[in-house]
């Protein structure tokens, strides 16, 4: 039984390689398109994570400072914290008492004196506050709305709206362009793979008809074409990974990473996700192309 299986696979693999080689122009096009697709997708992704990484460092971005009304008691402050933590998209809430704020300010002015601290202690002009950090994708407008409606004792809050809006606008534009480009490329890839596989199915149509008569299973008949798709997917993914590595190394790390203010995430940290993503998408695209092609063929020849 085992032996039988391995021979079947060997035979299918041989036919698959044969088919790919016979239609090498189409095979090459398939690999090229899928490869471009993956590299473009990967590049967008890598740029996006790096942009995110750097944007999050910008002061005031994705942080909101909520000030409590003066003389809010501890119990109400605790209620405030709970209410703030409940808001969707809020990642963390850090309480800063007016004393801490005072110390901080004094130290900023190099006035680190116990004396001043003591002097203001009982008549602290500053307010207690909470520093909210929200998720990069959360909507600031919604969070604002929630603060206004569900949190009591709020004196005021600070959001650096300009920075937020601008950066979010850029992020959205980037995401939209990336998505459309990717969808377009995936459609083109699938289309090219379908036609590549179709050509090799067509080249062997007599054989396939006879195989059916003889009693070959559908799986056996389809296997070479599924393998063709698989090979196209894996080869494209492997090439795309190599290209992505080089692009990242030379363009991101060496060229852009030279500027100290920009942090570029080391490739090693992203390598696994890229490998996984490319392999899964490559194989999925290859298989999908083959399956659609076979379905179409079976329909036309049923």
């Amino acid at each position: 039984m085992r032996k039988t299986k391995s021979i079947k696979l060997g035979y299918s693999l041989k036919l698959a390689l044969n088919g790919l080689f016979k239609n090498r122009v189409m095979t090459f096009s398939s690999v090229l398109v899928l490869f471009s697709c993956l590299v473009i997708m990967g590049s967008f992704l890598l740029v996006a994570v790096n942009v995110n990484e750097n944007v999050n460092k910008i002061d005031g971005y994705n942080k909101i400072v909520v000030f409590a009304e003066k003389d809010t008691n501890d119990y109400d402050l605790e209620l405030m914290r709970e209410a703030l933590e409940r808001i969707d998209g809020v990642e963390s809430v850090v309480f800063k008492s007016n004393e801490e704020a005072l110390e901080e300010q004094l130290s900023e002015y190099n006035l680190q004196s116990e004396f001043l601290l003591e002097m203001y202690r009982d008549d602290n002009p500053l307010k207690d506050s909470f520093v909210l950090t929200y998720e990069p994708n959360a909507s600031v407008e919604t969070i604002k709305l929630h603060i206004d409606n569900t949190v009591d004792h709020v004196a005021k809050y600070n959001i650096n709206m300009d920075v937020v809006t601008q950066i979010n606008g850029l992020k959205n534009a980037f995401a939209i362009i990336a998505s459309w480009l990717m969808i377009l490329l995936f459609v083109v890839s699938i289309f090219v793979i379908i036609n590549t596989v179709k050509l090799s199915v067509y080249a062997r149509r007599d054989e396939i008809a006879l195989m059916r008569y003889i009693g070959a299973t559908d799986l056996f008949i389809s296997l070479p074409y599924l393998i063709e798709g698989l090979i196209i997917g894996i080869v494209s993914a492997a090439l795309a990974f190599g290209a992505q590595f080089l692009l990242y190394k030379y363009l991101m790390l060496d060229l852009i990473g030279r500027y100290d203010i920009i942090t570029i995430i080391p490739f090693a940290e992203l390598r696994n996700i890229i490998i996984l993503g490319f392999t899964v998408i490559g194989i999925a695209m290859g298989f999908t192309g083959s399956i659609i092609s076979l379905k179409k063929y079976n329909k036309e020849n049923a």
């Binding site: 039988t4 021979i7 007599d206 006879l210 195989m211 003889i214 056996f220």
Partner: protein, 228 residues
Amino acid sequence: MIKFTNVSKTYGDNTHALRNLTLEIKDGEFVFIVGPNGAGKTTLTKLMLHEELPTSGKIEVNGYDVVNIKKRHIPHLRRTVGVVFQDFRLFEKMTVFDNIAFAMHVVGTPKRVIKKKVHTLLKLVELEGKGGSYPYMLSGGEQRRVALARALANNPDTIIADEPTSNSDKNSSEHLMRLLAKVQEHNKTVIVITHDLSAVKRLDKRVITLADGAVISDIPGGDNDEEN
């Protein structure tokens, strides 16, 4: 066993290829099916292989309920029936050996077994030593014997030969009929569709005559001469 019970087949709206046909062929029988063009002979074989479905009626082939068969069992049904096509359908780019081996590859037979079996089959159809030839190097009669060897490759219970002797001279058609008779001796059911009445007469086997989609006569073997 092959059993058609009240089988009708209508193509489109009004081409009645078979009309309420009932017939039974026992295991190990040799049967000729004759009849004019368009009588429904090829349709009969297509129905047996689940290549076409009947409009109504019941079909049983080698233990399979062909009409209600599960899709994944169709290949197994087909492995019990070997078909010799009128146009041979040999692969021009494969040697005789590979043409026969192909049928076994397709059902997952190990290489070692294939090699042995092909030699046995070539011997059976009297084409020893032709394994390395390509189909175009062979005469029409020889090609037909390759097709027969291939049909036998997976050890089917039934062999169907559709017009196996058309366009061939008397000698080669006699040769093929003799081989088919030999196949029957290996406990296989043999169904021969033909217009070649001389072959029919010579072999003295059961003869089913179809016309316009119905059985118009069914003469058992051995009684042939008396009833004519």
